[in-house]
Point group: C2
Chain length 382, copies 2
């Protein structure tokens, strides 16, 4: 008989204590699942909410191993962790979801791209290089994006290279060069799978980026795409999680090209920024779904309840210090504005400080309100 | 300028640390409002989630006064608290919502009934008695419910008296005798008001009671009533909160008589069992609305998003000990089943251990699933 997954006798360990962990805890409260977090920042968003909160490095083998040893299931809310420690825990019989081999693959954008190529998953053409000097041998491949194979996150570690002149500014680390493909839209699909192999996929969403920060700034649910493209995106997402043989939720980001081809951009094996709106807009949220997946519970229904727009609240450029949310109270007076403030005391330029979901029966009206809210709320320092 | 209500510099104090406080905290996380609880039970549902959790008596003047002194706003999730301490805090300039005078009125069912009578609020005829022996002078009033003026809660402190033979089992304390009125339905409306006087009312719900425990067991949203009765119920609810000059959310329970008259049964000045389903079914939940009210923020939109059925998970009669939820995992496989487990380690006969909201586009289908879930989940001890 499986161990009871709720109450004090069961311990779910989460590597990372940021906003994704915080929203996971909010859902875990409903199921009375006890969440224990490890994070290097003692003031991380989960610090006051986790059943226990351990301050320590996510990349230190001993720290992660010691943290995982007394947990029943271990999961992550960030990929940049000691995979070696997770492998050891797994080899000792611990449940680690997503599995360490999946984290290893995804953490390295080169291996990730190779995985797509090997499994007939559509993605933009790519090449691998070891250092900056090799950029010169890829003049024929311009324009392209140079992506650091490891260590990039939240828009960092990516450079768009349009001509040979900017080769000098390229990263001097092992990188993927990804052919620049003109696209009409960026889409994202959240898919999940539990240990017994059940699959569930959320309807696609559409993402709009802040060009300056290279971060998702605006997200629409559902995506304005044809049923055919919707089905194709969902199929590709399911195909990836099955071929990865992965347990947990997986975010799949797509480019929809100008000729209506879907190309996989990146994947992330955890709850993701592009699934925040599921809290209000879908029967089951991505956070609840992640819990259901890693605890091997039946997966939840992913149906859309209502359209929504998600706006990331990024720290205003040039402000650093104790945070203040200008315009938040005025935004609260607008029907359907649902704030999620992450509880970070200190704001920095482009730091993710919170998000707003705007729900409305009519997506177009939600977009209008979303734009207004985006103008209204300014994340500044006191 | 008003003090900023989010972050560490603002402290919301809540008297009580039960499930209502727990769900209030879940919403407070979204707004990054720091919630500090006082409760006599060190294992209360809020104990691990509150920013600080103080163990102490809610009825002890000194304990409540000391707890409230360093808070910015004080509210309650239970009425049975030291009103004297709250009055002193209020007299010293603290914001206390609901106001102590409202708690005083509502805590005493005799004063509550008199308030309805004085303010032309429809309610069943009543009489007041001081002790059991006086029951004999009210033969002409049979059948009636005898309700203890103070101290009753969760179905305790109420007795249905149909004939003079059972006078010997009546309570020997000051009581309200309420004329038994045959009714077709029991309804409930949540209404809220902030300090600047804004009002918002949630659509009516329909309640079904467990006759044995005299507790709400089953709740449907929206209520199957005419637009005319819906409007009337909402008007009465608004009328009550305005006449009380109260800040916070207020639950108003009604009898709908066989000739379609609405009679106010009871009111409760806080989030309430009959508003649980607002978490999933309405744009704003009663918990978020309570926070918005007591923090003097704009009130949220109360529109129904989707129909729902709420089922209280009561401890099975005869079981006491470490809790186990039989059938919960099977219930999770049914689309639209949203569990809320309150985190109480010990179950007792009829103890409120959690609730399930079943959401569905079709209320009738939600009811069918709700009945099934009610049969499926048994709250027992190990």
């Amino acid at each position: 008989m499986q161990k009871i997954w709720y109450g004090n006798s069961f311990r779910l360990g989460v590597l990372g204590g940021g906003q994704l962990g915080r929203m996971l805890i909010q859902e875990a409260i409903n199921l009375n699942v006890k969440v224990h977090c490890l994070d290097p920042d003692k003031q991380a968003p989960c610090s006051e909410l986790a059943t226990t909160f351990t301050v320590g490095s996510l990349n230190d083998f001993e720290t992660v191993y010691a943290f995982g040893k007394d947990k029943d299931v271990i999961t992550v809310e960030i990929e940049n962790v000691s995979i070696e420690a997770l492998e050891k825990l797994e080899s000792e019989g611990k449940k680690v979801f997503p599995q360490p081999r999946v984290l290893k693959l995804i953490k390295d954008k080169g291996l990730q791209k190779q995985f797509y190529a090997d499994n007939n998953i559509p993605t933009a053409p790519f090449r691998l290089i070891s250092n900056q000097s090799e950029l010169n041998s890829h003049l024929d491949f311009l324009p392209f994006a140079q992506k650091m194979r490891t260590g990039g996150y939240d828009g960092k570690g990516v450079k768009i290279i349009k001509d040979a002149d900017v080769f000098t500014t390229g990263f001097d680390v092992p990188s993927v060069l990804e052919k620049f493909v003109p696209f009409q839209k960026e889409l994202a699909v959240m898919v999940s799978r539990n240990e017994r192999g059940e699959l569930a996929v959320f309807p696609s969403v559409e993402c709009e980026f802040n060009a300056e920060a290279n971060l998702v700034e605006f997200l629409f649910s559902p995506a304005a795409i044809s049923t055919e493209i919707e089905q194709k995106a969902e199929e590709i997402a399911k195909d990836i999680i099955v071929k990865l043989d992965m347990v947990g939720v997986l975010a799949v980001e797509f480019f929809l090209t100008q000729d209506n081809q879907l190309l996989v951009n990146e994947i992330a094996p955890r709850p993701h920024n592009s699934g925040h709106q599921t809290i209000e807009c879908n029967t089951t949220s991505q956070y609840e779904q992640h819990l259901r997946s890693v605890l091997n519970l039946p997966l939840g229904n992913t149906a859309l309840i209502q359209p929504g727009v998600m706006i990331n609240l990024l720290g205003e450029n040039g402000y650093e210090g104790e945070v203040v949310y200008e315009g938040l109270e005025e935004a609260l007076s607008i029907p359907g504005v649902k704030p999620h403030i992450y509880g970070k005391e200190i704001t920095k330029s482009f730091r993710k400080m919170g998000h707003i979901t705007v729900v409305n029966k009519d997506l177009e009206e939600a977009k209008v309100i979303g734009r207004k809210v985006q103008q209204l709320i300014k994340v500044k320092s006191k």
